[in-house]
Symmetry: C2
């Protein structure tokens, strides 16, 4: 076995779940209305959970935030969008709840598509970067 | 003239250089080594200016940071990369200076390409989003 294998052994740090010698490329995507923040990762996660659970309080619990805080975030998004992203429903099987409006679903899909495309692109670049860096060590 | 044109008039706020009713999609890209931050927008800007001016002190001045701070950033990058990204040169026409190494240039190009591709993608999505939002107002 060549001695360089010692240096290059891939070890995942169990605390961080990362290989401390690997270079990771990350991106954060957010949407502003004018110069004011409108939607970022946290709010998108909240929308996604509201869509899943049909309930702001369930979504808030899953995100370990208060109902009040979740509602304020929803209210802020609703006011900034041209139409509300989230609406209360009344009656029906579960006795009412909360759901995304069509525009809420549109924007959730658009954001997730964008992030998926970006992550795919960055994963390719990440591999390229690590391959080139690896060559320099050999 | 239809009355809705009043609402939809495009006004750029001179202070922010943004249309307050337009939705802007942004992305930030950064590279970590393991779980430690390695390179982000600020450090990339610094590398780019070092590449342009051939001088850390000129680059620092352009970024309105102290030479000492710029040097610490360069030193941190150099230590985290498999080989230094920036090196001092001695002699020559200008009596020596600082320049990017081939790996420094490679990573600068890779980061800028990544950001350019992402910005192109986001610009398309931004147009799509604003078109859809505009329809909802009509």
């Amino acid at each position: 076995m060549k001695s360089r294998n010692k240096q290059q052994s891939i070890k995942i740090d169990p605390k961080t779940n990362k290989n401390p010698n690997y270079y990771y490329i990350h991106a954060r995507v957010w949407i502003d209305k004018g110069d004011k923040s409108f939607l970022g990762r946290g709010r998108i996660d909240l929308l996604e959970l509201i869509d899943r659970f049909g309930s702001i309080s369930e979504a808030a619990r899953a995100m370990k935030m208060s109902y009040r805080h979740a509602w304020e975030l929803v209210d802020s998004m609703n006011q900034q969008a041209p139409q509300p992203l989230v609406k209360k429903t009344t009656g029906g099987k579960g006795g009412g709840g909360t759901q995304l409006t069509p525009i809420g679903k549109t924007i959730l899909t658009l954001y997730k598509d964008a992030h998926e495309k970006i992550d795919t692109l960055l994963l390719q670049l990440e591999k390229k970067l690590n391959t080139e860096f690896q060559k320099l060590k050999e």
